[in-house]
Every structure is written in structure tokens, then in C-alpha cells.
Symmetry: C2
Subunit: 231 residues, 2 copies
Amino acid sequence: MAEHTIKAFDEEIDRLRGLIAEMGGRAEAAIENAMLALQRQDQRLAAEVVADDKRIDALEAEVEKLVVQIIALRAPMANDLRDVIAALKIVSVVERIGDYAKNIAKRVPLIAANQHKLEPVSLLPSMGQVAGEMVQDALNAFAARDAELALAVVERDQVVDDFYDSVFRTLVTYMVENPKTISECAHLLFIAKNIERIGDHATNVAEMVYYAATGQTLPERERGGTQQQEN
Amino acid sequence: MAEHTIKAFDEEIDRLRGLIAEMGGRAEAAIENAMLALQRQDQRLAAEVVADDKRIDALEAEVEKLVVQIIALRAPMANDLRDVIAALKIVSVVERIGDYAKNIAKRVPLIAANQHKLEPVSLLPSMGQVAGEMVQDALNAFAARDAELALAVVERDQVVDDFYDSVFRTLVTYMVENPKTISECAHLLFIAKNIERIGDHATNVAEMVYYAATGQTLPERERGGTQQQEN
């Protein structure tokens, strides 16, 4: 590329990375606030998380426009082109993470409604904490092209999966013993599943970063006890 | 583009569309087979659905490679560039639809295991049927650039959402009355949610097709009774 084009390209890549960082920060905040709203039964905070998700979606659309513009104007080649396509994939995953946080927040009013303390609720914040940190580390790994940090995220997914299996069993037991709470516990099951999926998506981002940095694909992890076990 | 380049470009676009059609066909088959496996409690068929999902993932990777190649070699502009980027987005959604079908199949052994007939299972095939048809129509709309067909898919999502709300209530009632089945009914809840998400993703594809064909974004649909209602 001509020198002035390289300068414009570098500015656009910086802007792209800035948008991804902003999206990531908002997704991380959404997870944290959704979990806070759940713990405190704070319906106002939950409604904010739901409303703020539109901003995350808008950022994804902005990144797509910018990517198309970069490709059209700068004709990036080889690694530059792959980087730009990778940015598209990553924002798609971050947008989905934001959606899961929004879905958690949407369920908060359905659990607060019944106003007796549900013991199993206390299990979820720690699980949410781990998943939120995985998102943060995965996006930091992306920003720094840090393969080691990416690998650490992938390995931490087992923690979230184990947490989920434990929460599932606890909730089912609680439902059997407290049939009046079955409807609310169903919502808690979905919330736990949403957190587990956030962990999966953070792992996706980390795997993309690892591959981009090393050229190696990580092997498929086997889950839980028996291979087919799924909760 | 030079004439021979246009010819090569057209061939690559044809190949791209062919890969998307193949992915779509496999995703539709996965939904159908997962639901059949559930109804028949057929663990072998369920295992096939799980194994076949790798082929859908591989097709997505192939489409990505081809898109990068087309961009690098043909430098598509304007509508051609947007079409190619749209192809990337669509295969990402189709791959997720395949994942939901796989996740339904993975739960089949966990419901068959207990070997008493669960009444609520009979609700799910019709729901799966509608969602599967939405996927088929959304991908046909994409292939034909058919805005009307795309719009019909978007409007049909309400059917799946209403189905889901009904299944949720039925399952919760059944769980209260049959506490021995709570664990299996939890799996059925997740299966119903997976089918509902398949409908959502088919709607995403249809919205992309509608926008590409008309330049118009469809308004956000409001769900269910109260705006915040979520099951």
C-alpha cells in the first residue's frame, strides 16, 4: 500500500480494535449487572441491562460497516485480510454474549415476583463471576494477541461446566423437595445455562485468538463423566 | 473486472451458494432427525445427529476460506462485497442452528433412560416441525433473494414463541404433579428452548435477506403479553 494508505489503514484498524474493546467492556458490564440484579432482585438494574443491549448490537453493526469499508478501500491482503475477517467473527460472538446477559436480566422479574428467598440463587453469582472473567481475559488475549492467556481461558471452561452440572443437580433436588418453587427454579436453570453458554462463547473467542497466534487448533474437550453426559 | 475474472468470480459465487445450500440442508435434516430421535427414543439416530454436526462446522470453515479467497483474488466491490460478507453471517447462523439440533439430540438419551412415556414429549414434534420449515424457507428466501418469503418467516416466529410459552406452562404443571419426572422434564424444557432458538435464528436469516433485498429493517417484534414476559 502507498504510505498515506498505510496510515489510513492503521487508523482504521485502531478504530476497529477500539470498537471491539468497547463492545467487550459493555458485554462484561452486562454480565456483571445481570448477576447483581439477580442477587439483589433489582428489577430496575435488570431493565437497564436489557435496554443497554441495543448499544452492543449497534456496535456490531458499526464494526461490520467498518470492515466492509476497510476491505473496499484498502484491499488488505493475507494476514491483514484474515485479521479483519476475524474481527467480524469476534464481534458476532461478543454480541451473542451480550444477548445471554440480556436474557438473564429478563428473567430477574420472574424470580423476584414470588418474594421468598430461593436458596439455589446463591450458587449463581460465583458461576457468573468465572464466566465474566473468562470474557474479559479472552478479549484481552485478543487485544494483545496473547496465546498463553487464550489457552488459560479455554482450560477454565471446565470450571464453568462443572459448576453448571452441580447447579443443575442442586436445582432438580430443590424442585422435588419444594414443588411450589418449580416455576422459578426453571428460570434459574435457564439462567445457569445462559452463564454456561457465556463461558462457551468466551472459549470460542479464546480458541480463535490461539489459532490466529499459533496456527494450531486446540483439540475438542470432552465434557463431564461419560462422553454423552449433558445437563 | 476483466472478463475471465468475472467468469471465475461467478463460479466462486456459485460454489459459495452451493456450500450454503448444503449446510442448510444438513441443518434442516439435523432438526428433523433430532425430533424423530426424541419421539422414537432412538439413541442411535440421536448419536448420528451429534456426529454429523462436525460436517456442518467443517462447511462453515470451508465457506470462510472461500470468502477470504474471493475477497483477496477478485476484490469485489459494493453489492458483490456486501453479498460475500452476508454469506459469512448467514453460515454463522446456520452453524448455530446445527448446534441447537445437536444439543436436542444429546438430550435424547437422558429422556429415554427413564423409560416411562412422558406426555409432554408429544407437544414438541409440531413445534419442531414449524421451526424446521422456517429454516428451510429462510434459506430458500436467501437463495432466491425473495423478500416476501423472508417476511413470511419473520411473521411465523410468533407461532413458535406461542408454542414455547404453552409448552413451558404445560411442563411446569406436569412437574408439579409428577415430581419423579422433574429431571427429565428439565431436559424437555431445554429442548423446547432450543427449538424456540432455532426459530429465532431462522428469523435472523430472514431479516438479513429482507434487508438485503429491500434496504429496509423490520421493526423489533414485541413478545407475548406483557413486554417483559419471558419463559
